[in-house]
Symmetry: D2
């Protein structure tokens, strides 16, 4: 039985506590938060857990195997590095850290101490995203031309990070998972309206090799709740609508093809294809449960998590580049390969 310590039980922490409690192979023993009322509330729901206002009690507890971190982003590095140093396996919420430099340091630490480091890219563990990955990898869509993602709704949860750092990690981690490659450049445009120093609407564009693009549109100020991703391929197209309760994915047997050879002086003929639409059945399981079970598997069998430190780093590199682009005229910012790692 793996013993879990949870740092932070505000917005997301309770979901971690509930799942680690319900899983057969793990148990939550200690929860830390600065807010005593939250701790009391958690103790009420789970009478067997202990609570503390000092996260260092978790780090110092020799019985604890796993430390989970669901605190503001700027604290992730400090908490995760102390936990790794104390030989704990670490599960940290997305984004993994506030900078690529910090993420790299955590990766190095986790390798040195031979402890698992996993980041909470939860969507990568949903049945819908898994299904999309399967479809893309099967070649059914043909060559992927572009991905267009929207994550919009009314809601401001964050004060220390902007809408890109808050919402785009979901889309970026899904896109990287689906395409299995890093972008070459990133650009971003956005603006702040409610809090003058924090962007509340932004579009991020990733350019991959060979004209492959991914657009990610995020907003905290949209009247509708929209969670939609379109994957356009040379043979078929696919739409993932996460707001739909059951019909999350649609595969369109539609496409456009240019002529194989053509002469610019003669008429250019496109061929269009219109066919059936398929809505594959997708099981509805709680992705966080799948995710934490996977983490436990990785610890017990010494495997590398799908959303490991490197995945976390890739997302943060893109967010950093996007921030640079936002700050200086929206121009493309290159993504460096990490030869050092």
């Amino acid at each position: 039985m793996l013993k879990v310590g949870v740092i932070g039980c505000g917005h997301w922490g309770p979901n971690l506590i509930r799942n680690f409690t319900q899983l057969r192979r793990s148990d939550v023993v200690l929860v830390a938060d600065l807010d005593e009322a939250r701790l009391k509330h958690m103790k009420g729901l789970y009478p067997t857990i202990e609570t503390t206002k000092d996260y260092r009690d978790i780090i110092a507890d020799p019985e604890i195997d796993i430390v989970t971190i669901a605190t503001p982003v700027h604290t992730h590095y400090k908490l995760a590095s102390e936990a790794l140093f104390a030989q704990k396996h670490v599960f940290v919420e997305k984004p993994i850290t506030a900078s690529a430099k910090e993420a790299k340091a955590l990766i190095v630490l986790s390798e040195k101490h031979q402890r698992k480091l996993m980041v909470g890219h939860t969507f990568v563990y949903t049945t819908a995203v898994r299904k999309m990955k399967e479809i893309i990898d099967s070649g059914e869509l043909g060559k992927v031309y572009y991905i267009n993602s929207q994550r919009l709704n009314l809601g401001l949860f964050q004060q220390d990070i902007n809408v890109l750092w808050d919402l785009a990690p979901h889309d970026i981690s899904i896109v990287l998972y689906l395409l299995d490659q890093e972008p070459q450049t990133v650009s971003a445009v956005g603006a702040s309206h409610i809090n003058p120093s924090v962007e509340d609407v932004a579009v991020l564009t990733m350019k991959f090799s060979d004209s492959l693009l991914a657009f990610i549109q995020t907003s905290w100020l949209d009247p509708d709740k929209i969670r939609k991703m379109t994957v356009v391929g040379s043979k078929k197209m696919m739409v993932y609508d996460d707001v739909q309760p059951t019909e999350k994915i649609r595969i369109y047997d539609k496409g456009v093809e240019g002529p194989k050879l053509y002469d610019t002086y003669t008429e250019f003929h496109y061929s269009y294809k219109y066919g059936d639409i398929i809505i594959p059945k997708i099981e509805g399981t709680e992705p966080l449960r799948t995710e934490l079970n996977h983490f436990i598997d990785c610890i017990l069998s010494n495997k590398e998590p799908v959303s490991n430190g490197r995945s976390g780093l890739y997302v943060v590199k893109i967010l950093e580049a996007a921030q640079k682009s936002l700050d200086k005229g929206n121009n493309q910012v290159p993504i460096a390969e990490d030869h050092g790692l």
Copy 2:
């Protein structure tokens, strides 16, 4: 009775012929096209019109009052300037010309010859866009924060222009009409997949003063037909979905407000508002009929059209800037004020 000559009866021309024929104050007398089959087809539908393969027959006909131009964009300037020179009123399809320089020249010509010059920004004449303008101008939405527009579907109609020049004129003309101001900078990102030299997916961003943004997303490669514009204001939000047959506009009594005064060291409190949604009744009239009637009114009463040469110019300036941004790294390109005009 105003006599109309129509140059080009391919994709859009037949709609112009039908409407000018049905209006009481105008009549189509001569239609020009390079394609004899199209001319024959038109003659079949409207036995009283004459046809010609040489557009100069229209320019030269002293009986003709109005010349309408529905030909490829790169021919607009030549045809329109010859018509204005021949003292005709000119109606030209969007975008007005292939460059801002050409558009300016047409404006100067139309003023010199005291003839009306109007561009086919048809959406500005729809009851839905008129309703949106009315709502924004009434102050009901509060201060406009941003506009987000999507114009996506499967379809490639153009060979000489990319998806931005093909589809974005609709959105740009709507946005300029709604906001009644020009953007300060424009940036754009896109890529070509079917025809290597022609972008088939692109996002254009316009920045106005005071953090006001407008995003326009266009694609010829999307499986769904999407024509949607969201206007986010400080008090309310509005969504215009042109694909809906009757419920085109929704007004959401929703919003977020930051505290009037706040101290960054203390907790920052937002206030959210959730209220009713209203779907106003909108009459369904054919916008092209409204548009052409307006053109005739302007000619007969010597008024300036809503979508006059300047409107056409503003759209083309933005398209030119977007093209520049597309071509060099997606950076912001400033929109110059036209002191010369």
Copy 3:
């Protein structure tokens, strides 16, 4: 070239005129209506047709091959029988007549004079209904359990007939076409609200052999326009939504099965199946054109139309039975087999 005379150019007649005019094998020569303004309007649209206020001019014209009848229902029998008597082929709008007796008389007349008699059950000629028929006949749905149809919207077009006689002929003709059998009994419930003697909302239920049911719900007073038919089978289920512009049919790989053998004292176990949904591509063609082309085919090749007099009779028999049920306590009314015919 078949010469067509059209009696009635009010609501539906103009569609008949347009289609018979555009088809290569037919031409409209004479149109009759009591309303001179309508005749003038038609003459304006189709300058080559002649018009008359006296339908007997059509009946008496020896050049005319086909008489189409789009007049109030109570006149159908008189007009159609005179036309058949004058050796014309007859196309009459639905419902074929105001009573089964009249319908039988027309069938007898058409057989005696060896002329084609066809009724305008247009939906039977749509690509969507044809696709449904193909799917049911293939056995893909298994045994059909029930059909549920809704035809609702805001609109009162008829004064001489109630909502069942107005709207249900569409659904009844589709159901009979899909199932290829007559019901054994019919019951109906409804009420009048606007015009005291004319039902404006009603539900009709047809019972076939072996527990097979069809429900048809009609209303002139519904805020939404709904045209939806669900076909539930033992293996799969199918929904036809005619309001959808392109995605008209969905096939659900869903079902419930009871155990083959079971003991009422033990637990009764059902098995549920949930699978993919398929939206087959359906071509969008104008069904009236298909329908009239089929009528011409039947005349030229001496074939029996799909929606022949007997189809018309079956629908009217059901409407008569439904009316009886409406009038006396909603009880089941048996449908007699027509041994006489």
Copy 4:
């Protein structure tokens, strides 16, 4: 603190346990079920409750104030009458009993013992239904013409009762609550497909005075989950779609009116009205919590519950009449007034 004993913890019982546990004024002390595994599971979730296989332990416990019954319908009467006899307040799931006779007996018992008897017509406690009631009572819709309700989905939960007894109590209780009157007659049509003796699809029609109708369509065999009720009034119309997560009610400013006075010999003119649609904001609260809080209020303040024994009786009378109609030819069955009560 009111002490609660719960009989039955299968499908719905756990919701009762959870809510009574979380409410401040009540506590669950004892849970009875025949299935030991279920009892163990409940004990795991709520360690402080006691469990028993013999419901008589609950009846006999002098500390228990409230007995809740969530067992198969045919057991309701026996359990509820024993509990009332033992001076308990009784909350019983819908339908209240398997016959009107039983329901009347419970009402008499509850009055004799001065104990509260409440039936779980949960929808009557939803914010959406409350909002509809408010709108109808305000006269905004004008005179109500008819109500059309659909409750369809794939799912067979019951073996001892058919689809009408299972699903229609929801719709009947909503309709009676909205209209505040009993129907005069009831008719029903349906059929069995999976289990030969249990109807799995059925339509029930209630006729009230003055042409007011209510249609209720139920199915366990529909591919889509549909929970939709349309209320058509003389001035406005309203649609309640319970499947929508937030936009549950739409008010349509639409209508049709006949002329005040008319002469059947002259043309009959209807006037149509098309106006805005309003989607009122509705708070999302758990209706079961509202319901149980209301029950506690009624006990503590000696008030009559909204869904009291009489409400339960009215629903069962309608179900009985519907069953009679189903069994013999679908004819109207009158609803007797209960002078005896």
